[in-house]
């Protein structure tokens, strides 16, 4: 086992043991492999860099690198697509540790020789790793165990090199909960944070974005490729998507809206005219309506067969007829399940229920939800048509003090 810092700057010797150059960097290629193989070394001789393939190397150790020939290819080094230089692109950079669910900085890189091939096995993030590089060469200091992150757990490498392909293994990141991904992306710089979101699949990206502060959501979506942004917006819940569009410049918002698919577009477009701090701005259009003449059994069957069940089905909204939006009653899922299967909904529903107008102040509506211990509150227009619902989690966001919502301390807020 070796550490990158123990190899950098060491001599490269030929067959006779003559020092012909020094090690400037170690090259690998990130890919499917959990522990990527080292494919060569950048050698430095007389202020020029050239490439030494791993096939020419017989030994890598703290003493340096030994070659198996006397001939060196002195063609200047040029990085090829997908290659990662460990000293330049990994050392001192941040990465996401999927196992520990945190962002760490790489103090050193661990290399291990397995079956004749050197591989990148881990990132040293401990104080000892720092010490190893700070202290004069040969001075090892403490023998305390080091803290090394298995390279297989590296979910994202925050390097600025745009050509480093596959630096984020989205499959690994997707193992985390969207809340965690959002927190990690926020801990990185803005540029890297949006790269993390961009690397996720549309659905996870949407869920992750929903967990981020509004301003950041808009910034990430706004800077993204338009087609991709529209795809992600479709996956977001309509009220969140409308908030994001509302925070974007008008032209951009209209463009993105235009790129969205019909149904999702309609859902979002409906919410856009409402101000942020009104009931309309708070509501979502994902809810279930059922006609009054339906029986309890048929209603349950219909719920079960829905292809896209909204999140909020604990309350079902009963309307006048199949095509009507006239809200006449509410049924809790609990009463529906307990009720007689053959009874029509009109008999089981509650006709006395709380509702809000779209123009009502968001804060008052949120307070009402808390007061009446509701899970959701329907928003109804002048004509008595249901427009949307406000769920308890959106209400909580309004009621809880800011510090509660963003647990992470904001130093310069």
């Amino acid at each position: 086992m070796l550490y990158l810092s123990q190899v950098l700057g060491r001599p490269i010797r030929d067959l006779e043991g003559e020092s012909v150059a020094t090690v400037k960097d170690v090259i690998t290629r990130l890919g499917e492999d959990d522990h990527p193989q080292i494919i060569g070394i950048v050698a430095r001789y007389r202020r020029r860099d050239f490439f030494v393939s791993r096939w020419r190397i017989t030994e890598i150790s703290e003493a340096g690198v030994r070659l198996n020939s006397d001939v060196l290819n002195l063609k200047p080094f040029e990085r090829r697509e997908g290659e990662v230089l460990l000293a330049r692109n990994v050392l001192d950079k941040q990465l996401i540790d999927v196992d520990g669910k945190r962002v760490v900085r790489v103090n050193d890189v661990q290399l291990i020789e397995v079956a004749g091939a050197w591989r990148v096995t881990g990132a040293d993030v401990s104080l000892q790793g720092l010490w190893r590089r700070l202290a004069p060469a040969g001075f090892m200091g403490t023998r305390k165990p080091v803290e090394v992150i298995d390279w297989a757990d590296v979910g994202y490498l925050a390097t600025d090199e745009a050509t480093v392909q596959l630096k984020s293994a989205s499959g690994k990141l997707a193992r985390l909960h969207p809340v965690e991904i959002a927190r990690l992306a926020e801990a990185l710089s803005y540029h890297h944070g949006s790269e993390v979101v961009g690397s996720l699949d549309d659905e996870t990206a949407a869920e992750t974005l929903e967990e981020m502060p509004a301003a950041q959501q808009a910034r990430i979506i706004g800077d993204m490729d338009e087609e991709r942004a529209a795809d992600i917006l479709e996956w977001m819940s309509p009220d969140e998507a409308a908030d994001v569009l509302g925070d974007l410049p008008e032209e951009k918002a209209e463009e993105l809206l235009g790129l969205m698919e019909g149904e999702e577009q309609a859902d979002v477009a409906e919410l856009l005219p409402y101000e942020d701090d009104t009931a309309g701005g708070l509501m979502t259009t994902e809810f279930v309506t059922l006609p009054r003449e339906l029986t309890v059994g048929a209603a349950i069957a219909r719920l079960r067969e829905m292809a896209e069940t909204p999140n909020m089905i604990y309350y079902l909204y009963v309307v006048e007829a199949e095509d009507s939006w006239q809200l006449i009653g509410v049924i809790a899922l609990r009463s529906l399940i307990l009720a007689d299967q053959t009874a029509p909904l009109a008999e089981v529903m509650r006709t006395e229920f709380q509702s809000a107008h779209p123009g009502e102040a968001a804060k008052e509506v949120a307070q009402r939800i808390a007061e009446y211990n509701l899970l959701a509150l329907p928003v109804v227009d002048q004509a008595g048509d249901i427009l949307g619902i406000i769920t308890v989690d959106d209400a909580m966001e309004i009621l809880l003090p800011k510090n509660w919502r963003q647990r992470l301390p904001r130093l310069f807020a």
Binding site: E270, T285, E286
Partner: protein, 438 residues
């Protein structure tokens, strides 16, 4: 029937047909708020320089040198603006803090050096803040061995328990008192012709007292922590290069405003203290300069302002330092972490607060002298940060075409070199006081 998916999605389509489709207009109120939110980091950072050490330094400048040193405020405005703008620009372009960039571009050894410099400089300033607290409370007759430990414990508690941000505003409000110097400067009826002369006619001397004051002035206006702070704030506010113009304006407006306050502090102290040959050796002396405005309440007014400014910085500074060092060296950070989770972060914070408070309660400590010395340490360490900033901001890989222009670079390098020379000169004349140049 079922393809209607229980009408979930259709809800929107209906309104779309009704013609409800449209994009919500961003209301003017929202625009204004966004503007105010962004107009901030530069203003706050530049004015943070007017803390306990700053007030002491500027009061001494006015009292000792009269209007002679006023000229230096013009080059200092330009230098401060340039340095702050470079850091703000780096924050906007890279989205990373200064400590991050230093680590990622210069490697471990340089990072360790810069962080050590920052730690010492900020440690010095933290001491000066607690000295400020001591001075302020002593004006009210509360002994410092009582007030300083109390302040230290409450700051530590407030920050770690996470309610510091709320108290912060109270302290910030208290510093408004220092605007009183502006009125005081006019009421003291200074000789405006001499003010004008001092402002445009540079004077220089190799006298060690003069150099000491000069380096202290530079050190307190262009403090190393300000560069770190502004870059972090810009990153935190989410400024990108597209909306960077407003931040640039904010930086320059903030700089000019901060130096204007300094200008009036120097004038009012010169017109009251220097005229009567009073040396600033205690906080009460510095308070005298407010007498033309506040009369007998001058001391109380000054004490309130000094207390607010010192409490504010005594909390923010150790915290910001702990963040920077932890960030650069990759340690766990955050005030919500426990000592076991983030030992280094909380260790640095606790260490700075404790040491700052401990030094400030030492008996027979010449308060104003200590304040000046900490600013000089700042000045001496400034070149380390300045050269790091200059190398980073001109790094094409990092900044692309947002690197400094040639003229900009000349001015910025000149600042760094002059500050370095001044610092070296001060060390020289301190070690060899009898050294005669001419």
């Amino acid at each position: 029937m079922l393809e209607r998916r229980a009408a979930v999605r259709a809800a929107g389509r209906r309104l779309l047909q009704r013609g409800a489709r449209g994009v919500r207009n961003v209301t003017p109120r929202k625009r204004l708020l966004a503007y105010l939110a962004i107009l901030g980091p530069g203003m706050i950072t530049a004015n943070a320089g007017n803390d306990a050490g700053g007030i002491a330094t500027f009061a001494s400048v006015g009292a000792d040198q009269g209007y002679r040193l006023l000229w230096i405020l013009i080059p200092i405005t330009i230098s401060l603006g340039l340095v702050q703008e470079m850091c703000a620009r780096m924050g906007a372009v890279t989205g990373k803090g200064l400590a991050d960039l230093i680590r990622e571009r210069f490697g471990v050894r340089w990072t360790a050096l810069v962080m050590l410099a920052l730690l010492i400089a900020n440690g010095g300033v933290t001491v000066s803040e607690f000295v400020g607290i001591a001075a302020a409370t002593e004006l009210f007759g509360i002994p410092r061995f009582l007030s300083v430990p109390l302040a230290a414990v409450s700051i530590w508690w407030l920050v770690v328990k996470g309610s510091y941000q709320r108290v912060e505003r109270v302290f910030l409000l208290m510093t408004v008192v220092f605007l009183g110097y502006v009125a005081s400067a006019f009421l003291a009826q200074p000789e405006w012709t001499k003010v004008a002369a001092g402002l445009v006619r540079p004077s220089f001397s190799f006298d060690s007292a003069y150099l000491f004051t000069l380096v202290a002035v530079v050190g307190t206006t262009i403090s190393p922590y300000m560069q770190v702070y502004i870059q972090s704030s810009v990153v935190e506010k989410g400024v990108t290069f597209e909306n960077y113009r407003r931040t640039r304006i904010d930086v320059w407006v903030g700089t000019v405003f901060a130096i204007l306050i300094v200008f009036f502090i120097v004038i009012s102290t010169a017109a009251t203290l220097h005229r009567n040959d009073i040396q600033v050796s205690s906080a009460a002396d510095a308070a005298h300069a407010l007498q033309p405005l506040a009369g007998v309440y001058a001391e109380a007014l000054f004490a309130v302002g000094l207390f607010g400014a010192s409490m504010l910085a005594a909390g923010v500074l150790p915290l910001a330092t702990a963040y920077s060092v932890s960030e650069a060296l990759g340690f766990e950070k955050g005030v919500s972490r426990s000592f076991r989770e983030a030992p280094i972060f909380l260790g640095i914070f606790t260490f700075l607060v404790a040491v700052g408070a401990a030094i400030a309660v030492l008996p027979n400590l010449p308060l104003i002298k200590v304040l000046l010395v900490t600013q000089v340490i700042n000045g001496l360490l400034l070149p380390v940060i300045l050269f790091a900033v200059l190398r980073l901001v001109n790094d094409k890989e990092l900044m692309a075409d947002r690197v400094n222009g040639p003229l900009y670079n000349i001015a910025a390098w000149a600042t760094a070199i002059v500050v370095t020379l001044l610092s070296l000169l001060l060390i020289l004349v301190t070690i060899f006081p009898r050294l005669v140049f001419f």
